[in-house]
């Protein structure tokens, strides 16, 4: 898939408590969560962020809690994708599972600044920074992870498997 969006740059170790503080975890509605996304690191962020924007973080993005509310809040705010140097494991899984695209590209992260426009192709695996004209190669998804992405998310993949299993048991019984 191809994306083009404006960058919001954050630092290393952006944790799930600043992405969506626990006081807002009484819902899993993405739009409601989006009203508070990143507010503990930048209180104006929920007002400033626009549809199609790109969040760029450093190392260990999404560390901390298992709360899927974190990628849900980011997606709910209209953010098209997150690019980082590396991701915390649970956040990575959660994002893939709910269909929030993630791109791992340390070189592009190092050069990106807030306000830059990035063009990202997650299928081909490259990032272009339109300000510098530089093109970067992004790390591809593992094939198993790509299957989840292609299915549209984990539950879609599981539902398809359940359907197949039932069709097979129906055929043999």
């Amino acid at each position: 898939m191809q994306f083009r969006g404006r960058v919001w740059k954050f630092g290393d170790d952006i944790d799930t408590d600043v992405i969506i503080p626990a006081r807002h975890l009484l819902t899993f509605d993405a739009k409601e969560l989006a009203e508070h996304v990143m507010e503990d690191i930048d209180p104006e962020f929920p007002q400033k962020v626009q549809e199609g924007d790109i969040i760029v973080g450093g190392k260990n993005f999404g560390c901390g809690s298992s709360r899927e509310h974190a990628p849900l809040a980011i997606r709910g705010a209209g953010v098209s994708l997150v690019m980082a140097e590396s991701y915390a494991r649970i956040f990575y899984r959660n994002s893939i599972n709910i269909g929030l695209p993630l791109v791992e590209c340390p070189e592009a992260v190092a050069d990106a600044e807030t306000g830059d426009i990035l063009e990202v192709d997650t299928t081909e695996g490259f990032v272009v920074n339109t300000r510098t004209g530089q093109t970067y190669t992004a790390k591809p998804h593992a094939p198993y992870v790509q299957e989840i992405v292609n299915a549209g998310g984990l539950i879609e993949a599981v539902t398809e498997r359940v359907r197949q299993r039932e069709a097979e048991s129906g055929a043999t019984s």
């Binding site: 170790d13 944790d15 626990a22 190392k59 494991r89 899984r93 599981v158």
Partner: protein, 425 residues
């Protein structure tokens, strides 16, 4: 080529002889857990699969513990979704008043067994590595998929071996060891890895301290922490299980991505200052700026030995007049045992609150939320910005002894600093 204990458990779960770090495998799960924050989304996602029932109700467990006893109507609604689904499906369920914090309750009930693969929609699910299980945190959708299929996918992690040597000073506990370790390797020092805890110090370490160490493996980015099975593990499990489990040991020629040796002989009690668990300093070196609150409890340090350690420091003293001190037993069982020993009286005599079990304050949920500018010394596991309340509040992590001492002193301090003060009896 030899395997680590974590690799062996994953290989068993995948029905294979061995697994290799980096590969993705599908494994059968022995226990799937969620709580009142994460379960409602898991249940909604599970229902999308069209399945009428979970793969095995005896292997699915729900624990309301984060916002309960319900702090408001929304929290009550979340807990209700979980309770109704649990009863409808006939899964394991632990109601408040009969249970407590998930990572305290599950071990108490013999549900965390050696060799098991346990996943939970709570990042501190890594706690159960203390019992030689492979246990790890995931999100709600992963848990929904596991409730449907009875399996999950895992990228086989590397293993980092931590070897603790030397003589453990008497006032150093598991929390000091893990904070020191995270301080050394950083909050992403074990990213995509298992932290295997070994060495002569570990061989003698009591169960509650092992639990506190595994609990915080996630704070170093680890998939999980894991301990070898030994007589101490067996002693705990003999009280709560039928002994029907299979422990796994690492092969002598197992491959580790890294070996980290830590001599504990000269360690001092430590604290992690805001806003990262890796910002570790000696507790007697951080000055005397006033604090506003102390929390003793949580899935990290809410067990009986933690409360005993805190009570020992607090006995005969008063909580500083400018400090709120909240003591939270990790479970109903811990509360009962603490009361039997009179620990509750020591805390209340000192002017502390002795509460029912809840995760509330740890995540700024309720019952101990910090105002702008407030500082809290806490035995919980995370001190990220805004974790316990206002974004301009501070959480300082430590073990139960330093927390109790700080409550009395009104600033970060050690039991030795309290002893130099005359008791207020």
């Amino acid at each position: 080529m030899g395997l680590t204990m974590a690799q062996k458990i994953l290989a068993k779960g995948a029905g294979r002889e061995s697994v290799t770090p980096g590969e993705i495998v599908e494994v059968a799960v022995d226990l799937v857990m969620t709580n009142d924050v994460t379960a409602p989304l898991s249940i909604a996602e599970f229902k999308k699969t069209g399945l009428k029932s979970v793969f095995d109700p005896k292997k699915v467990v729900f624990v309301p513990d984060h916002f309960v006893p319900a702090k408001d109507i929304k929290a009550a609604g979340m807990a209700k979704i979980m309770r109704e689904f649990a009863h409808e499906q006939g899964t394991l369920y632990f109601e408040i008043g009969r249970a407590g914090i998930e990572h305290v309750v599950l071990p108490e009930n013999g549900l965390t067994r050696p060799g098991d693969i346990i996943i939970g929609a709570d990042s501190h699910t890594c706690t159960y590595g203390a019992f030689n299980a492979f246990s790890t945190g995931m999100g709600s959708t992963d848990i929904a998929a596991a409730m449907a299929l009875g399996t999950t996918w895992v990228r086989v992690p590397d293993t980092i071996k931590f070897v603790y040597t030397g003589t453990l000073p008497p006032d150093i506990g598991g929390k000091d060891l893990i904070l020191h370790t995270i301080g050394k390797i950083g909050v992403d020092g074990a990213l995509n890895s298992v932290m295997e805890f070994t060495g002569p110090v570990i061989d003698a370490l009591p169960m509650d301290d092992r639990i506190a160490m595994c609990n915080m493996a996630i704070e170093a980015g680890g998939d999980t922490g894991i301990f070898p099975f030994d007589d101490i593990t067996k002693g705990f499990l003999d009280q709560v299980t039928d002994g029907n489990y299979t422990p796994f040991a690492s092969d002598p020629d197992a491959t580790y991505s890294r070996i980290v040796e830590i001599d504990v002989t000269n360690l001092k009690p430590v604290v992690a200052l805001p806003h990262l668990p890796s910002n570790v300093h000696d507790a007697d070196s951080v000055g005397t700026d006033p604090i506003d609150q102390v929390v003793i409890g949580s899935c990290t340090n809410g067990r009986l030995s933690d409360l005993r350690a805190a009570a020992e420091v607090m006995r005969g003293h008063q909580v500083h007049p400018m400090v709120r001190c909240i003591v939270i037993p990790g479970s109903q069982k811990v509360a009962r045992e603490a009361a039997k020993e009179g620990l509750d009286e020591i805390f209340m005599d000192a002017g502390a609150v002795f509460s029912t079990s809840t995760c509330g304050p740890c995540l700024g949920g309720y019952m101990g939320v910090l105002a702008k500018g407030e500082r809290c010394v806490s035995t919980t596991n995370r001190n990220f910005r805004g974790r316990m309340g206002h974004r301009e509040s501070d959480v300082i992590l430590t073990g139960p002894r330093v927390a109790a001492a700080s409550a009395i002193l009104g600033h970060v301090g050690t039991p030795a600093m309290v002893e130099s003060k005359a008791p207020v009896a």
